[in-house]
């Protein structure tokens, strides 16, 4: 792994790579360099069979308190139009393997949006979520108005985006923004355990399952069902599927190879 400045990369351990956002002095604000390092790290593991799931965390105190406001302030309209950041976000969004976020403390603005790019979120009970962009005269610019509404519904999405108010971990769980709430010290270990479980599953099935689930955001039910069926059919051509079914019938542990 190359040396990174704003993130720490560890693993893969049992198929799981961990990325720790590491700008504590800026409460892990997502500067351009951090986003680039994140996108590069993910891209670099797409073809690496040893990485089967990823955990993104910011540590026990803060996930990411937003974007880097100073960088943003320097851009005029043309600068924003030509900004490289949407490219980084797209690369993160298109990462084909499962990504789990372990969130403690603030996940605000870009931090909340990064979290929503992840497939599963485990939150410490000290976590706070929000899109406070409105307070700066701007709006969420990395999916905050889109992914949030699709996840929590219109009224709560409007409340968060228009008022800039925060919600806590328990509320976030009720609204489906996170799947589990733990004590802060356990959010990362729990995310890691979950990621290892997923990493032990047949990788092609995991990948197609993720792809099918994400399609539900973008298509009609009919198109989604067709895509799901295609993916389902494709899996019938894999060795892992035969192994999985055979092991179930023979009451033994399956041995998956990603083929």
């Amino acid at each position: 792994m190359p040396d990174y400045q704003d993130i720490l990369v560890t693993g893969p351990d049992s198929g799981v790579m961990t990325i720790t956002l590491n700008r504590p002095q800026a409460r892990n604000a997502l500067c351009n360099n951090l986003l680039r390092e994140l996108a590069d790290t993910l891209d670099a593991t797409i073809g690496n069979d040893k990485v089967r799931a990823v955990v993104i965390t910011g540590g026990e105190k803060v996930f990411a308190a937003g974007a880097d406001i100073k960088e943003m302030a320097e851009l005029d309209a043309v600068g924003v139009m030509n900004d490289i950041r949407p490219t980084y976000w797209r690369r993160i969004a298109q990462y084909p393997k499962p990504v789990i976020a372990a969130v403690n403390g603030f996940a605000l603005g870009g931090g909340c949006e990064l979290m929503m790019h992840c497939d599963i979120v485990i939150a410490g009970d000290n976590a706070r979520f929000g899109q406070p962009e409105i307070n700066l005269g701007i709006i969420p610019g990395a999916g905050g108005t889109q992914r949030l509404l699709r996840t929590v519904g219109k009224s709560m999405a409007m409340q968060l985006v228009l008022s800039g108010e925060f919600i806590n971990a328990e509320q976030a769980r009720e609204f489906g923004l996170v799947s589990e709430v733990t004590i802060p010290e356990m959010s990362y270990p729990r995310a890691l355990t979950l990621a290892k479980t997923i990493a032990s599953k047949p990788p092609i099935a995991v990948r197609l399952a993720k792809e099918s689930l994400l399609k539900a955001y973008e298509t009609t039910l009919e198109t989604g069902l067709n895509l799901e069926r295609k993916a389902f059919t494709l899996l019938a051509a894999t060795e892992d599927r035969n192994e999985g079914i055979a092991a179930f019938m023979e009451k033994r542990q399956p041995h998956f190879q990603g083929k």
């Binding site: 004590i183 010290e185 356990m186």
Partner: protein
């Protein structure tokens, strides 16, 4: 910060915070709030502190808010008591209940209004035989604050909490002990000595483990059994990683007294 309305010292791992406005039954004014806030911050951040003892000087423990500090001018705008609670009382209660160490309260006399509820926010409440607890709020048109509406029903049960809060009757320390609202009562002249000895003893114990016990018990108020079982699993994972757990087990096996560091 030099203190005028409280006394504060740290010895042998114990921080002793003594409310010290005896002429006003140790009631809170703005200055005292600032001093308590400062002292609690030291307790929270100092590695040397492994137990906090809160008590009062004079014949009272604490009479809550100093009303002369809040004289109501009939012509003035209605006051915003919520602001004072948000700024002073709630942060104090949150800090006390989340301190990662045992907090003992030695109630040396009358504990009224917020004073009663500050005591109830502590982990172990001791009281002198002549102490008393009064939810005085109802007498001036207010509601029990500083966590009283939360701690009281959990400490004495709903019917007693309701009557104490609506009637504002004085509850003797001995009755409070019989009801299980507090831990124990002692003769007035023994209270502070007993409390300090207990605090010093607790300061030698596995502080991190005690803090996790506290956290688990507090969480049980809002959790289902299933959620609590998960939490116990997680907190025990943390407890099992402490130096004190290792020391406790090896001392037990070697049949020697354990030397806990609180880590």
């Amino acid at each position: 910060m030099t203190y005028e309305h409280i006394e504060f010292e740290i010895t042998e791992g114990v921080a002793v915070l003594t409310l010290n406005r005896p002429d006003s039954l140790n009631s809170f004014n703005t200055q005292m709030h600032a001093e308590v806030r400062d002292a609690l911050k030291q307790v929270k951040t100092s590695d040397a502190v492994r137990c906090l003892l809160i008590t009062g000087n004079g014949r009272g423990f604490c009479a809550g808010q100093d009303l002369s500090d809040r004289a109501v001018d009939p012509d003035a705008e209605m006051p915003d008591l919520g602001e004072s609670i948000e700024k002073n009382y709630n942060p104090m209660i949150r800090t006390i209940s989340s301190l990662e160490m045992p907090v003992i309260c030695a109630v040396n006399g009358v504990a009224a209004g917020a004073g009663a509820n500050i005591a109830l926010a502590c982990d172990i409440v001791l009281a002198s035989k002549n102490a008393s607890f009064i939810q005085a709020f109802c007498k001036i048109g207010l509601i029990p604050d500083s966590g009283g509406t939360w701690t009281l029903p959990r400490a004495v049960g709903f019917p007693r909490a309701m009557a104490l809060s609506l009637l504002g009757d004085k509850l003797s320390a001995e009755q409070a002990e019989q009801w299980g609202m507090i831990w124990k009562t002692y003769p007035a002249e023994e209270l502070k000595e007993v409390a300090l000895a207990m605090a010093k003893q607790l300061a030698t114990q596995p502080t991190k483990g005690l803090a996790l016990i506290k956290r688990a018990l507090q969480a049980s108020a809002n959790n289902s059994l299933n959620e609590q079982l998960d939490l116990e699993r997680d907190l025990q994972t943390l407890a099992g990683r402490t130096d004190d757990y290792r020391e406790g087990v090896s001392a037990f096996m070697a049949k020697r007294p354990a030397q806990f560091t609180g880590k």
